[in-house]
Chain length 482, copies 2
């Protein structure tokens, strides 16, 4: 009893404790290295040194006790030099799995540190669908060697998985399905499974197919366990299984997994022939990745950065956005230069105009994001689009009246100039309407054109509300205050 | 064979087809209602009318064939009036499940349309942990009736689940665990399961406990199927099960589910006694909700809006952010009014200063978001914080040099004034440094203070880079150009 509790305790602390211990050992290794470096001892002597050996052996022992997923976690947390040190000590048979588990950015650093033959043997430990996940990061020559080393059916599978669109079910599926025939008794099924000795991860159901591989239904492990073994598969299998086609959108599959709480589901071709399966762990990764992309894109970042990627690389990750922003900022502010005469007369306008622009941009982006999210869930009909449109306009109108009046009042209080207060109120009101209009129209138009409604929306909205904000405010000021 | 294919086909089209059909029928019902209304026929006669009855019966039949999750999907897609029409036709025994499946905003509209006794009977169909999920939305009196209607152990469970922090494992767990003792043979386990007749959803393993409910290990359904039935549970159970404590953070559990590809995991109390389990479907919902909140918060939205929620309610959802923005915009632009004299002299400054501020805000937010994400993954040590800090400063420096020079050059080209170009370049350079500094410092300081590093970061960064942008640019202009 006590024993089990302790084991549990140990289990729970594992990853973070390990991270600390590994960092400790690495620090000792590095400290020693730098000492030796100062004494100008040649590096090969250092590596031979006794102390160094001892730490290294300790580290290696720790790594051997850890699960690949935990080693991946630790590799991600380490800076580049220490990461490669640890990577060099990882057991060869874990390398393939770890490469799968780390993030894209970290994987790149690990792969670039490996020899082609080391990479080849790491990849050979993996399943076909897992190799496909690594493929984009593998050097061409390794990929070719790998294809040659596979037997014919495996090579065909790999090539077919690689041919699917990245956002499709085909790209996410694996081949770990166990198939049975419907005329078997449960007893025979059980015997068959025992002969297999191992079931793939996430096997919660067996797929029932006919002679030509057409999907007929699914038999859950639960019903296999709960039913009399004399029954036949056909009698107790589910026939209305949620299945996907290889070219279905991955997002649709993710929504179905959430809606029906699935663990695994069959993937079929256009003739309803079983070609693979898709499991909840892959779906979870997909959802996570998808929302991460959305969050990063909102901030104008192209991809997640690895902590240890170089300044140069990270800077370039942010340049597209920076460049676009500089261009749109210049374009929007060109409006201001048209009104330089007005500003010379009433210099207070200079400090008020950024407010009109900023608030417009913010509310426009609020509308935009809500519309994009609704469109992404796919629950849209012609009439719901119309409803969204008028609702956002209504909110813009309401906000314009409430906050336009408020801001106009504040301006009047600050400057004691009723005319200026009125112009500010009117400009806020109009720009909030413009913002609402842009916030709905831009994503809906992109959606209707069959494009991704999310891309570039925030840049475009901000550009338009800035430009229009300056134009409306300075225009009204020129009309009413000069 | 053909039959199965057709069935599959039908299955696949189900949800969206159904949505279309339901909308169709509803449109017919409403059209008819409005016609009747024009003829001033009393409403009760309308409902009695034959045509109306026929559509309604059709609709009801369709709903009866659909899964609760699909009905939930359709309810979400419908505008309020039609949604309540459909809700009135849903079978009573599905009401509980559907209330669980819809989004928070839609659930509110459905619940506000139900009588207390109808709500009570809907809630009574659910498991304890599911009731806990509904609890925040139920009227107090229904909750009280519900607590009274439960038997003692169920009430205690419900009360304990309700007492856990919303972001903790305890709040996400359910009680659908099947427990066995380690001295049983597999044969006895199989007999026990057959007697249970049903296993809870997502049961991929049975939990092995001792007399005092201490967790000893887990027996996967797979090993139950694959092993000789004469073996004992103790011989083949896994003992290093990934388990969670009720007060563990839900986010930690989610990361562990992803790392170890779990389907279900035991939840224990501080004495390692089994109190519940946590399943991948709940984890998936949690991840989704968490990233949705992050996306909405980035845009300053407090919660997801239901398409059909009122304009008034939606407007208020956006007001906190709007108000904060107005306040910070006023505060930042007060800087400008200090330099009105300078602007009067060189009016071009008015159209250039928003550029400095905007670019600073954007790059600062890029840094901020990357830091927040790294902190959220928990892979941070003292030395990695230092690394992040200097890396972002390095990027700021690099960007400042590259883009400061570029923008300064453009300004020189537009205005033909080398002094103005120089001031612009210097201001861009300095403000990008400020932006990087703010982008890293603000989240790290919040993190060190033990607060959520994400909250308010973007508002604060934008405020500071705006204010500093104006100050630096106009300050430099005053120094060098007057």
């Amino acid at each position: 009893m006590e024993n089990a509790t302790q084991q549990q305790e140990q289990e729970k602390e594992t990853v973070k404790q390990h991270l600390r211990k590994v960092t400790d050992l690495l620090d000792k290794l590095q400290l020693e290295e730098s000492l030796v470096y100062k004494q100008r001892m040649p590096r090969h002597e250092l590596i031979e040194s006794l102390l160094h050996k001892r730490y290294e052996v300790k580290l290696k022992q720790m790594l051997e006790l850890m699960r690949p997923a935990d080693i991946a976690y630790i590799l991600e947390a380490l800076p580049l030099d220490k990461r490669l040190m640890v990577w060099g000590l990882v057991k060869a048979e874990h390398e393939g799995q770890i490469l799968l588990d780390v993030s894209d950015a970290v994987r790149e650093t690990l792969i670039s540190d490996m020899e082609p033959d080391q990479l080849l043997s790491a990849a050979e430990q993996l399943e076909t669908d897992e190799i496909a996940d690594l493929a984009p990061d593998l050097p061409i020559e390794v990929m070719q060697d790998l294809l040659e080393s596979l037997n014919e059916p495996h090579r065909q599978r790999l090539e077919s998985v690689l041919s699917y669109d990245e956002e499709s079910v085909g790209a996410l599926m694996d081949f770990g399905m166990v198939t049975i025939r419907e005329d078997l008794t449960l007893k025979a099924v059980l015997r068959y499974l025992r002969r297999l000795k191992k079931l793939p991860e996430h096997t919660d159901k067996l797929f029932v197919i006919d002679r030509d591989h057409h999907l007929k239904g699914a038999l859950s492990l639960k019903s296999l366990l709960l039913n009399n073994t004399k029954k036949r598969v056909a009698d107790i299998m589910e026939t209305d299984v949620v299945s996907f086609k290889t070219d279905d959108e991955a997002m649709e599959a993710a929504l179905a997994f959430e809606r029906y709480d699935l663990v695994s589901a069959p993937v079929v071709d256009s003739d309803n022939r079983l070609v693979g399966r898709i499991c909840v762990d892959v779906i979870m990764d997909f959802i996570r990745q998808d929302s991460e992309e959305e969050i990063l894109n909102q901030a104008g970042l192209e991809e997640e950065e690895d902590l240890s990627s170089s300044i140069w690389k990270s800077a370039r990750n942010r340049w597209t956005w920076l460049m676009i922003n500089i261009v749109t900022a210049f374009a929007a502010t060109r409006v201001i230069s048209l009104f330089e005469g007005t500003i010379m007369h009433i210099v207070a306008l200079a400090s008020l105009m950024p407010i009109v622009a900023a608030i417009g941009g913010n509310t426009g982006n609020q509308s935009g994001i809500l519309i994009v999210r609704t469109l992404a869930l796919g629950q849209v009909t012609e009439s719901s689009l119309r409803r969204m449109f008028f609702k956002e306009l209504g909110i813009g109108l309401l906000n314009g009246i409430v906050w336009g009046t408020a801001v106009g009042g504040i301006v009047y209080l600050i400057y004691g100039n009723p005319g200026l207060g009125f112009v500010m109120a009117a400009a806020m009101f109009l720009n909030l309407l413009v913002a609402a209009l842009m916030g709905v129209t831009i994503p809906i138009v992109r959606y209707k054109l069959g494009r991704d409604p999310a891309i570039g929306v925030s840049v475009l909205i901000t550009f338009l509300t800035d430009g229009m904000g300056f134009l409306i405010f300075l225009g009204l000021a020129t009309m009413f205050l000069l």
